[in-house]
C-alpha cells in the first residue's frame, strides 16, 4: 500500500489559522551589549529573560515532493517543561511590499515522549542545535536574540560548538491571517534598531546552495 500523500497545505480546521510574521537579522558579539541595552529600553519592562533550548528538526519523506518538516523544541534550563512542537509552512508569496516574511504556523505542546512518538510515526531527525540567548517582548511582538550552537555528538547537549560569531536576532509576531498592519508595526520597530541590526525579510529558499 502506498503511504498517504504528504501535503504542505496549511493546517486548517479546529483552530484559528495562525500566521507567523518574521524579520531576521544578526549582530556581532561585540555589539551584543548595546543591542540588549536598546532592547531593554524599547521593549516592555520585564525581567530580562534568558533561555536555553534544544531544537530537533524532524523530516517525513513522502513519496514525492518536499519532505514534511516538524520542529521539536525543549528547554534545557527548565527540563520539566513540556516539549514544544511547531509546524511552519511555506512563506506566503504575497505582494512584495509586505515587509515581513509570513508563513503558516501551528504550535502545540507535547509530552516528553515526543521524540519516540515522532520516530514511530516515521519521522527521522534531520538536524538539531542548541539555541540560547535572550527574549524580549513588546506587545504582541517578540524579539529573540540567540546564539546557535552545533551539537557535536547527537543527543549530547553539553558538547556544543558555536555556529558563528554572531547572534541571530528575530522579530516575530503570531497573528491570525490577513492582518497587514502587523508588518507595518514590525517595520517601524525594526527601524528603531538600526544601525545596530538590520532586520529584514530573508527568504529561506533563496539561501539554499
Amino acid at each position: 500500500m502506498e503511504a498517504p500523500p504528504v501535503t504542505v497545505m496549511p493546517v486548517t480546521g479546529g483552530t484559528i489559522n495562525m500566521m507567523e510574521y518574521l524579520l531576521q537579522g544578526s549582530v556581532l558579539d561585540q555589539a551584543l551589549e548595546s543591542l540588549l541595552h536598546r532592547l531593554r529600553g524599547l521593549c516592555d519592562n520585564m525581567e530580562p529573560e534568558t533561555f536555553t533550548d534544544h531544537e530537533l528538526v524532524y523530516l517525513l519523506k513522502g513519496q514525492q515532493g518536499n519532505p514534511f518538516i516538524l520542529r521539536a523544541r525543549r528547554s534545557l534550563s527548565h527540563p520539566k517543561s513540556p516539549w514544544h512542537l511547531r509546524y511552519l509552512g511555506q512563506p506566503e508569496v504575497g505582494d512584495k511590499s509586505r515587509h515581513a516574511l509570513v508563513r503558516n504556523c501551528v504550535d502545540v505542546a507535547a509530552s516528553h515522549s515526543l521524540p519516540e512518538f515522532l520516530n514511530e510515526m516515521g519521522f527521522r531527525m534531520d538536524h538539531e542545535f542548541v539555541a540560547n540567548g535572550h527574549i524580549f517582548r513588546k506587545g504582541a511582538m517578540k524579539v529573540v536574540v540567540s546564539k546557535l550552537s552545533r551539537i557535536l555528538v547527537p543527543g549530547n547537549t553539553e558538547n556544543t560548538e558555536r555556529l558563528s560569531l554572531s547572534y541571530l536576532v528575530e522579530l516575530s509576531v503570531s497573528a491570525p491571517a490577513g492582518q497587514d498592519t502587523v508588518s507595518e508595526d514590525m517595520r517601524s520597530f525594526a527601524e528603531q534598531l538600526k544601525p545596530l541590526v538590520h532586520l529584514e525579510k530573508i527568504d529561506p529558499s533563496k539561501q539554499r546552495h
Partner: protein
C-alpha cells in the same frame, strides 16, 4: 485713571486718528498678552500636576510657544501703525482702600483693591531697583574700557556668532557623511553571518549530522562514520528504488583524515541509502 498723550502740535483730526490707532493697538496688545497668560497658565499647570508624564520635547514645545507669542508682541509694538506707548502717561485719579468688585472681576481676583500699595508695582515705568543698579554698573564699566577695546570686543563677538551660524546652516550632508564614515569603522553586524544563521535555522545548513564539507571550524572531535537514517536535506538522492552510494562518504573523507589520528579512517565504505529497494513494505 486717564491716559494723556504728550501735547503735540497736531490738528484735531490727526489727534482723533491717533486716538483710534492707540485704541486699536491697545486692544490687540491686550489680546496677545491674554494669549501669553493662557499659555503660561497651562504650562504651569502641566508642570505642577503632570510632571511624571512630562517629556522634554513637550516642555520644549511649551517654551517655543511662549517665545513665539512674545515675538508677535514685539512685532506688534514695532509696527508702524502702533503709536509709541512711551508717549502715554498713566495717572491714577482715584485711589481707595475699598474693594472694587468690577476691578476684581476684570483681573480675575488678582487685583481686588486699587490702593496705594499696588500703584508703585503695577504702574511702574522705571526698571526694578536691582536692575537699575546693574544697568548703572554696566554703563560705568563700558565707559571705563574705552571705545577701541569696546569695538574689538564687538568684532570678536560678531565673528563668533557668524562662525556658529555658518556651522549650523551648512548643508547636513557634510555632517552626515562624517558620522556615516565613523560608524562604518565599527560595523555591528555581518550580513554573511546573518545568512549563515538563517540558513542554519531554516533548513540546517551547517548542522547536518554528517559534518558538511564546508569551511567549518576544524579540530573538533569528529564523529564516527555516520550512517544516516535516510537521505538528509542536504544530499538529494535521486529517487528511491536504486541503491546508490550515499554522498556522505566522499566529502567526509578528506576532512576526517586531516584529524590527528582521532578516529579510524574507515569512511570510504559503500553506504547504501536506506530508501527505495530496502523498504520492507515496498510492493
Amino acid at each position: 485713571m486717564i491716559l494723556s498723550s504728550s501735547p503735540s502740535a497736531c490738528s484735531p483730526a490727526m489727534q482723533q486718528r491717533e486716538e483710534k490707532q492707540l485704541e486699536a493697538a491697545t486692544e490687540s496688545l491686550i489680546s496677545r498678552v491674554a494669549h501669553v497668560k493662557n499659555a503660561l497658565h497651562s504650562f504651569i499647570y502641566k508642570l505642577e500636576n503632570e510632571y511624571e508624564r512630562l517629556t522634554w520635547p513637550s516642555v520644549l514645545d511649551n517654551f517655543a510657544l511662549l517665545s513665539g507669542q512674545l515675538n508677535t508682541i514685539n512685532k506688534l509694538l514695532k509696527n508702524e501703525k502702533t503709536p509709541s506707548f512711551r508717549n502715554q502717561v498713566i495717572i491714577p485719579l482715584l485711589l481707595s482702600p475699598d474693594r472694587d468688585e468690577d476691578l476684581a472681576k476684570l483681573t480675575e481676583q488678582r487685583v481686588p483693591v486699587f490702593s496705594h500699595e499696588i500703584v508703585p508695582d503695577y504702574l511702574r515705568t522705571k526698571p526694578d531697583p536691582e536692575v537699575e543698579e546693574q544697568e548703572k554698573q554696566l554703563s560705568v564699566e563700558s565707559a571705563r574700557i574705552g571705545p577701541e577695546v569696546a569695538q574689538k570686543q564687538i568684532q570678536a563677538l560678531n565673528k563668533l556668532c557668524s562662525n556658529l551660524l555658518e556651522k549650523l546652516n551648512n548643508p547636513r550632508d557634510d555632517r552626515d557623511s562624517e558620522s556615516a564614515s565613523m560608524r562604518q569603522n565599527k560595523p555591528s553586524f555581518n550580513p554573511a553571518d546573518t545568512n549563515a544563521l538563517v540558513g542554519a535555522v531554516a533548513f540546517g545548513k551547517g548542522l547536518s549530522k554528517c559534518r558538511p564539507p564546508g569551511p567549518v571550524a576544524p579540530g573538533h572531535p569528529g564523529q564516527g562514520p555516520m550512517m544516516g537514517g535516510g537521505p538528509t536535506l542536504q544530499q538529494v538522492t535521486i529517487g528511491g528504488g536504486s541503491g546508490q552510494q550515499s554522498a556522505m562518504g566522499g566529502p567526509g573523507a578528506p576532512q576526517q583524515q586531516g584529524q590527528p589520528g582521532k578516529m579510524p579512517s574507515s569512511i570510504k565504505t559503500n553506504i547504501k541509502s536506506a530508501s527505495g529497494s530496502m523498504h520492507p513494505y515496498n510492493r
